[in-house]
């Protein structure tokens, strides 16, 4: 206790120093005076008296030192001293400090940005009660492919819920997008279906009203809505009156019973929900065929909180135990017998859920790690730059170091002080970098989001991000400070005090450490350039791919029939009427509607049985399908190669026909004429459908993904295509920019039926959105490569300049002895080329080794593509050579007299 009190007082001793110093001086003075008086009384002379008093005291200054050591906290005080001194030194060199801080800000900021993403996506715990107790339920087929799925049907969910016995609370949830508008262009809210126990299990409180409970989620319910806090703020202005009012979702109204607490965005990583509805309410949405009893409608995720005394192993065991029962009770009756047998053999498993549920975890992890590696390399290059700068600067402080050593500072103390300077630099860089990182991550999120899928991440600063930034700041400071600190404190005192040389004469004028640093910068930059070049070329190949159709000026309009309560038998007529009217809107060249639009992310495929010899094996007999109207190919600009297109003669009652693409003709009917031939679609339980006759062949065009090649595609008249249930997609080719005719189109549709919910997009943007990941990679890696190149250039320029300065005397002598400027130039350039060659060789080696990791992300390129490598080496060499040439040229032009006089 006493010791603690003492410590607190010592900390307090750091303040109010002046007053205490004054007091101490007074006390010691009075001590000495009293001693002198005593001595005088004893008979000493005044001189002896004073001398004796001082000796007995032991020296005023050392007494003061001892007192001060006891009064404050000595090591803390020297630390402050060093920090203040460091700040002063940095202020004296504003140019150096600015460049260093900015470079570090860019490097550290980029690292922090990528790490925040990593943290938000993979590391951040869910903002719920005790997230480490949560676990997700998965299912797996024991056969071959070992893939784990996290999606369940409602019957499966009910089985798991009733039989699990290991969770203290278990819940299910599924995504749904709701239209808040009642017709016309859609305004969408992100919805989520949740089971009754969702909020209670997660421990979420309400910010207003009450949250859903199990009693709200019983079959036959009329549905209630719970809003998320942010949606409540944005949409209702946070008004308390929102609770108790109603909300219209896809033209159904629901009462709002409450608002969830702020900071809760849902359980899925990357999205946030706006409104939650109970699972039982799907009955209202689905109408005739509700998903609640559907045994092959996959839409729910299941997770739960473990009971406190249940371990993960016990959970796994229990899920395995109940698997046979659960799956046997929910076998889909419309599947093939073989597939049903497989179904019964599926098993339930578990996955951790403390950081949230994230389907794309594997992919994102890989991507983020690559970005982190790239950004780490940029930081290393930046550090190398600063180390180089500091080495050069250290030479000018040679005298200062020598004086301080002579006065009695230990080498360790000097090194400590220099390291503190470095850490000060890196800390300032880190502070600025954190700001840059916030902008950077927001920009990045914008890049990654597409029109339909706004990515949302909780990017608020948490201790992990701050800790990461702080750690990086300190490590980089030490990293680039250590070498200069050690070198600059290795001084020979006598030499330094003797000469008027500001520069250490002992240091070899070749600046060896600097050259190594620059060479490694060049190597790292090359690696980044190669990576960036690969991603860029890959992206360009994808972006300029021949799609098989013309994407310019095509508007996509998706209509949702559900909300407009049009009877299903009226649908076809309604869409045809809309298409007809749209065709006469001024500015519209051609209209068609279809089931699936190109590169939309959705697909429809079934196996095909063709009447030809040697049909393809079962898996290869899968064909992409689409239902279209006659003007589809004209609207998209797809060429018809043989036979005829669809026309008015193809109706619901006329014989079934189809148009196939080139690949299907080649795969199913090699060396035969497919026109006139017949095939059948394989449906539920392997039953074959009606015969369909092939009447035309079209050119190949992309269907589901830009990267796919060589797949078969068949088109049907939409009136003959099996009922799909979703709304149609209209493709409208316009002569002007699609946005110009948007309102005309909307009013035309409203003229037919004003409560159809519409969603607009352009074909060009839809195609672009399918390339989002590649675009992001190309942009980021290109940016980092450019940054690295810039840093390396600056580093090379600085190093060569410095080397030239070191050799000024030597060069001056040479020129005085008659060397031509050209030979001086060549002399310096020899150094430049040596560094370049070393760096390029090392960089090429590293690149060749590491670039294989990227192969899966590239398109149309081998990872070790020689053209890219050659381009990268070429660009780097050119830029680096220029960076080295400029100071070399300066050296050759210097007047030899000036050079010789440089001391």
């Amino acid at each position: 206790m006493r010791k603690l009190r003492a410590w607190f007082l010592r900390l307090g001793g750091l303040f109010g120093k002046e007053r205490k110093e004054h007091e101490l001086a007074e006390e010691l003075e009075s001590h000495i005076q009293m001693h002198i008086e005593d001595n005088l009384r004893r008979g000493m002379t005044p001189l002896e008296a004073r001398r004796d008093a001082l000796i007995k005291l032991g020296g005023v200054d050392s007494t003061k030192e001892g007192y001060r050591d006891r009064r404050g906290v000595p090591w803390l005080e020297t630390l402050f001293q060093d920090v203040r001194y460091g700040l002063r030194m940095l202020r004296k060199n504003p140019g150096f400090t600015a460049v260093a801080v900015l470079t570090l800000a860019l490097g550290i900021g980029a690292n922090t940005a990528i790490f925040s993403l990593l943290d938000a996506v993979l590391l951040r715990l869910l903002p719920v009660e005790k997230p480490e107790q949560l676990a997700q339920v998965t299912r797996r087929s024991p056969r071959g492919d070992d893939s784990i799925s996290t999606i369940f049907t409602n019957p499966l969910w009910e089985q798991v819920r009733d039989q699990q016995q290991v969770f203290s609370g278990v819940f299910a949830f599924g995504d749904q997008r709701f239209d808040l508008a009642r017709g016309g262009e859609g305004h969408y809210a992100k919805g989520v279906w949740v089971s009754g126990d969702f909020f209670r299990t997660l421990g979420i409180r309400s910010a207003a009203g009450r949250l859903m409970t199990v009693s709200d989620d019983q079959r036959g319910c009329s549905g209630v809505a719970v809003l998320s806090y942010s949606f409540w703020q944005d949409h209702f202005g946070g008004a308390p009156s929102a609770v108790g009012s109603t909300i219209s979702l896809d033209n159904h109204t629901y009462p709002i019973i409450g608002v969830a607490a702020p900071g809760f965005y849902g359980v899925e990583v990357g999205t946030k929900f706006d409104v939650a509805l109970p699972i039982c309410a799907t009955a209202i949405f689905d109408g005739a065929r509700p998903r609640l009893d559907h045994r092959s409608w996959w839409w729910l995720n299941i997770a739960g909180r473990l009971k406190p005394d249940i371990s993960r192993a016990q959970l796994r065991a229990r899920l395995e135990l109940i698997s046979p029962r659960v799956f046997a009770a929910t076998v889909p009756p419309n599947w093939l017998i073989d597939d049903q047998k497989d179904y019964r053999n599926w098993s339930l498993g578990t996955a951790p859920a403390s950081t949230g549920i994230f389907g794309g975890r594997q992919q994102a992890e890989g991507l983020l790690r690559i970005l982190l590696a790239a950004v780490g390399m940029v930081l290393l290059i930046a550090c190398a730059n600063i180390a180089s700068l500091m080495l050069a600067r250290a030479a000018t402080r040679h005298r200062e170091m020598a004086v301080r050593r002579a006065v009695g500072a230990s080498r360790l103390r000097l090194i400590r002080q220099l390291l503190i300077e470095s850490v000060l630099l890196s800390t300032s860089g880190a502070l600025l970098g954190t700001l840059l990182a916030r902008w950077g991550t927001m920009l990045l999120l914008q890049l990654i989001s597409t029109a339909h899928e706004q990515l949302f991440l909780d990017l608020s600063l948490d201790w992990r991000i701050l800790g990461f930034t702080a750690a990086i700041a300190v490590i980089t400071g030490l990293l680039f400070g250590v070498l200069p600190a050690f070198r600059s404190t290795r001084v020979s005192l006598t030499d330094a005090m003797k000469g008027s040389l500001a520069v250490d004469p002992e240091r070899p004028a070749r600046f060896r450490p600097g050259r190594w640093i620059v060479a490694s910068q060049v190597a790292l930059s090359l690696v980044l350039l190669v990576g960036g070049g690969l991603f860029l070329r890959s992206f360009i190949k994808l972006a300029t791919l021949d799609l098989g159709f013309d994407r310019a000026n095509v508007l996509i309009m998706h209509g949702e029939p559900r909300t407009a309560s049009i009877q299903p038998d009226q649908w076809l007529a309604t869409w045809d009427e809309i298409e007809r009217r749209l065709g006469s809107v001024p500015g519209v060249l051609s209209v068609s509607h279809c089931v699936v639009t190109p590169l939309s992310g959705s697909q429809w495929d079934q196996p095909v049985h063709a009447d030809a010899p040697n049909p393809p094996a079962r898996m290869a007999a899968d064909v992409y399908l689409n239902g279209i109207t006659p003007r589809y190919f004209k609207t998209l600009g797809i060429t018809l190669l043989a036979g005829r297109g669809f026309s008015a003669q193809d109706t619901t009652t006329s014989p079934k026909v189809a148009i196939i693409n080139q690949t299907m003709a080649r795969k199913f009917y090699p060396h035969l004429n497919p026109l006139g031939r017949v095939f059948r679609l394989e449906g539920d339980q392997g039953k074959l459908g009606d015969p369909i006759q092939i009447v035309g062949i079209v050119r190949n065009s992309k269907y589901a993904s830009l990267r796919e090649e060589d797949y078969s595609c068949a088109y049907f008249p939409i009136c003959q295509a099996p009922g799909f249930g979703g709304g149609p997609n209209f493709l409208i080719r316009t002569s002007v920019r699609p946005s110009a005719v948007l309102s005309l189109i909307q009013s035309t549709v409203a003229g037919v039926n004003k409560s159809i919910s519409l969603q607009f997009d352009t074909l060009a943007r839809q195609v672009d959105d399918s390339l989002v990941q590649e675009r992001v990679l190309a942009t980021l890696s290109g940016f980092f490569a450019a940054l690295a190149l810039l840093l390396a250039m600056v580093g090379l320029y600085g190093a060569i300049s410095y080397m030239v300065t070191l050799r000024q005397t030597e060069l001056g002598v040479r020129m005085a002895l008659g060397a031509a400027p050209g030979s001086i130039l060549r002399l310096v350039l020899r150094d430049v080329v040596a560094i370049l060659v070393a760096g390029v060789v090392a960089g090429t080696g590293i690149a060749l080794l590491s670039v294989q990791l990227l192969q899966t992300m590239l398109f149309g390129l081998a990872a070790r593509d020689t053209l890219t490598m050659a381009l990268a080496i070429g660009v780097l060499s050119l830029v680096a050579f220029i960076a080295g040439y400029l100071p070399a040229r300066r050296a050759a032009k210097v007047d030899p007299m000036v050079a010789l006089r440089y001391e």
């Binding site: 003492a6 005291l57 001892g66």
Partner: protein, 113 residues
């Protein structure tokens, strides 16, 4: 000059406390002088070490200081024992007594048979 042993730093605090207990409030010089006298000049006290020791005792709350005037009307800082200091002195004196008693037992002359 006789042979003066060096003061053992650890016991300096004890001696200061004892001095203040016996003589009442005193300034730094007086304490140092008194310690030298009490040891019959066998201890050589570097007077300067008194001050850090006094500061430590003050931080631990065993003594309290205040400015006053000496006999010659000179301004000086006086230190006095606090209640906690008195208790600590008693405790340490008892501990020293125990320690010396045990050692004395070991070093006592052999009992005559």
């Amino acid at each position: 000059m006789g042979d003066k042993a060096d003061v053992w730093q650890g016991t300096l605090a004890l001696m200061i406390l004892r001095t203040l207990d016996t003589l009442g409030p005193l300034h730094g010089y007086g304490i140092a002088r008194r310690i030298e006298q009490t040891s019959d000049n066998l201890l050589s006290v570097n007077y300067g070490t008194i001050y850090p020791a006094l500061l430590k005792l003050e931080q631990e709350g065993y003594v309290a200081s205040e400015w006053g005037h000496s006999d010659n009307n000179r301004k000086a800082k006086y230190y006095k024992l606090t209640r906690a200091g008195r208790k600590q002195l008693a405790k340490e004196m008892w501990e020293w007594g125990q320690a010396t008693a045990i050692v004395a037992r070991f070093l006592s002359p052999k009992e005559s048979v």
